[in-house]
Symmetry: C2
Subunit: 509 residues, 2 copies
């Protein structure tokens, strides 16, 4: 399929003149064709107005019809599989096997929401019957269900060009909820975005849906996204990316005349705590698992472990030795784009320059390309407790081992952490009491707690929470992965004293 570099809008607006931008291959540094148009407030307005216009028809589809649409998207994505994998590979440098797996994840995510919607239990209907004879006042018949919020703006992530992008989890959850979606394409993979967007468009056409249900806007700057969040017809925003980006959108949304929710997933450092017996028992295998989790996807996972807390005991040095032996064996790999690579180098540079932080393994890349190797740093809990900068996320394959002199100090470190997507504890059965104390602290900090494993690997299922207290997200009451992600785009509606003929199906007797 030939890319056209255009937005996908309900109203044909012809070839857009004006500014353009290009994708760049991070491995070869080559500019990729075609040129992509830079969207403006004009296209934002078309997308938001058509989304609002077609919201009424979309939300009134039956649940099976909505589910069929989600399934139809997967059919169209599979039709474009070869194009998607090729283009995503060119735009991100990610290996083909990884991208193929990610496409499967994307498809399965849509199918999970299709089943979830078809089943209907997510509407959580509640029926409270009338009590006309109750004293001192009668009770009316009251029936509760969930309704969709309205048009949703989606900002995908650079690090998952399929599963957290145009046809990714946020879009799937919003469409499943009954909300039209306007996606702001990620400028690092605009061609992959166009292909996925065309799959959704084709699925909508095949299902006979009005075209305002889905729009895709291309653009490389911040103004387009800001205009989208500020558009009065947008009802909610989903975002996956940096803290700076997520907070900026949150601030814009909160300052609107009518504030709207922003569900920003902004990553975290995902602390891992190794208790002494688990450390001694795990040995070199534990060291390898840790390094693999740090380096997975060139460290570009929201859940990669940026902090490892260990006690200063005999097993520590052999663990660190094993890490230092294994880590240099991992090949250098290209990060997703120049901006991410540069941010990684700057952040790593600043971290190494902090007092008491030592670069143990790996290096700060100096090349002009996108390639990096993993890096291991080491500091003390004393230092960690007086320098909150050490706890800030370095997005990339780097991790800091924090050596604690006592379990009390380890607890102090846990208590000092900011909000996280995940926190993990490795402990043997004999360490259950220490483990329990740590977990009690970590429950306050994270959306997902992991025992005896590393945090990378986010299962798409009914029990997942990919969320957590700020700054991991802007709304800890939500998740952006798993079926519960649909709740972000629903609100409760109570119907009082309604005749059966006017009730939606799920509220009828």
């Amino acid at each position: 399929m030939t890319l056209n570099g255009q937005h996908i809008l309900a109203e044909a607006t012809g070839n857009h003149p004006g500014a353009h931008f290009y994708a760049v291959n991070p491995v070869t540094a080559e500019r990729l064709q075609p040129a992509f148009v830079e969207g403006t407030a004009v296209q934002v307005d078309i997308a938001a107005r058509s989304a609002e216009h077609d919201f009424s028809a979309y939300r009134q589809l039956s649940l099976p019809q909505r589910a069929d649409f989600l399934v139809a998207i997967t059919t169209q994505l599979r039709k474009l599989e070869a194009d998607l994998l090729e283009r995503a590979g060119l735009e991100t440098g990610l290996p083909r096997a990884r991208l193929a797996g990610e496409l499967t994840r994307t498809v399965n995510q849509l199918l999970m929401f299709a089943d979830f919607v078809r089943e209907g239990a997510f509407l959580q209907p509640q029926i409270v019957p009338a009590l006309p004879e109750r004293q001192p006042l009668p009770r009316s018949d009251l029936r509760l269900t969930q309704v969709p919020l309205g048009p949703v703006a989606v900002f995908g992530a650079s690090n998952f060009p399929l599963a957290f992008s145009v046809a990714g989890g946020d879009t799937a959850a919003a469409l499943a909820a009954g909300c039209p979606v306007v996606v702001k394409a990620h400028p690092a993979h605009p061609g992959t975005c166009e292909l996925a967007g065309r799959a959704i468009r084709a699925a909508g056409d095949a299902c006979g849906l009005p075209r305002g249900v889905f729009s895709l806007l291309q653009g490389s700057g911040k103004q387009l996204g800001a205009a989208l969040v500020e558009h009065p017809l947008i009802s909610a925003v989903a975002f996956t990316g940096s803290q700076a980006g997520g907070r900026a959108l949150f601030n814009l949304a909160a300052a609107r005349p009518e504030p709207i929710p922003v569900f920003a997933e902004m990553g975290s450092v995902n602390p891992v705590f190794l208790l002494p017996r688990a450390l001694a028992d795990g040995g070199a295998e534990l060291a390898r698992k840790y390094v693999d989790s740090v380096a997975l996807g060139v460290g570009q996972f929201c859940t990669n472990p940026g902090l490892l807390f260990v006690l200063n005991d005999p097993a520590l040095e052999s663990f660190i030795h094993a890490v230092e032996e294994y880590l240099p064996q991992l090949p250098a790999a290209a990060m997703l784009h120049r901006g991410i690579k540069q941010n990684y180098c700057t952040a790593l540079d600043k971290l190494v320059a902090r007092s008491g932080v030592e670069l143990r393994c790996g290096e700060i890349p100096e090349s002009d390309d996108c390639f990096v190797s993993p890096a291991l740093l080491r500091t003390t809990a004393e230092q960690f407790l007086v320098d909150s900068k050490i706890a800030e996320e370095v997005f990339g394959p780097a991790s800091v081992i924090v050596v604690c002199q006592s379990f009390l100090q380890m607890q102090q470190c846990a208590a000092a952490l900011a909000g996280q997507l995940t926190a993990a504890v490795h402990a043997m059965a004999a360490e259950e009491e220490m483990c329990r104390e740590l977990l009690t602290l970590l429950e306050r900090k994270a959306g997902r707690l992991v025992m005896n494993d590393f945090p990378t690997g986010v299962e798409v299922c009914h029990a997942m929470v990919h969320g957590g207290p700020y700054p991991a997200t802007t709304d800890s009451r939500t998740t952006s992965v798993g079926s519960e992600a649909i709740r972000r785009f629903l609100r409760p509606l109570c119907r009082q004293n309604f005749p059966t003929s006017l009730l939606p199906e799920e509220l009828q007797d």
Copy 2:
């Protein structure tokens, strides 16, 4: 019980010197004893720190223990019933029967949450078992439950000194969720607040709870509330009151380094649509019900109907005639305090001065006391559609009849409305198609839709939504009345690969 005019804090701080304020009887304009201390950032800090300190112990109570605490609060409230009703009567001017009913509502609300917590279903546990053999990657055991957010700040309303105040729905929901509560007492009924706060304190003591679980701060200015919302240890805010007040707190919370959710219920105009046959059929009885709903509680209900849309047909004039006959029969009554009365007069004055708005019945009060009589205004849909000020809330016993020339115009009015707590339609069976079209528009606007009834009367039950799109609330995804109100103070937590011994009861096999 003798009031002491002090805050209720975990740390005894002695008699506070410094500024004081007094409650005023709105009926007699007399100052009421005693003086109440003005809280400062010092007391906010004590309250927030002790709430955070005792959060860990409180959230780890078993669900039956938490339920017992809620029941114990009702026992203590009933012990103080005579004092509460007397003092609330003095501070608000509300009739004793109304206050007695409100206390019963307050007690039943706490008992509902006690049952709800004891039952445990609100935790909505999800268990996804491990699939160790799955290809290409195994699946871990994943278990989802809900955990409390942390210390909650509660700002009660002036118009329900018991049910939406210190021991009201927000406090009940937050305590039920496992969150400590810091209440900012309403300065119009500080004595009632003190009594209710002492009931909660006594219940906590009887249950052996640490005292940081509940604090009450007295104060008459805005600074105290601002300091509370800005305190870094506060995790969420619940508010019932004016749009200006709710939005101000929302803005403060969104601007924090760590933003927190603000659940502000800010009232609305609660439009009612009368379709022609229902109007003709309802006659004088419908007119009386309308006026009663407008005037209930001297119009000081968040759900009183401020707008009534009717078609210009033969039945209209006799309906208006019946309204104009009945409305003057209602006696003047005192509003809750001078500030509310003055705001009501100013808002009514401005509304009457708008082009095309006619005061049909009642008057703009000119007396210096708190007394007002109901007022009826009339305008046209043409005027309504070009002047959005007519749709703004006038908090008090006033309502505007908007006369539409056609059903299309009525639909345009519905589409032009801002977010509402409620919207109501009166229709006969033969009008079902018109009704359906109106309801489709109104679903976008309100948290509760009412058929053939008026919106006042908010049932405390599992199906209630007391919420709605902005500006009715700052978070349309929530309700502040009914058992679903607990969700505001919970967040999901996923546990991965946990041994049974470390799982909470609801997640064990």
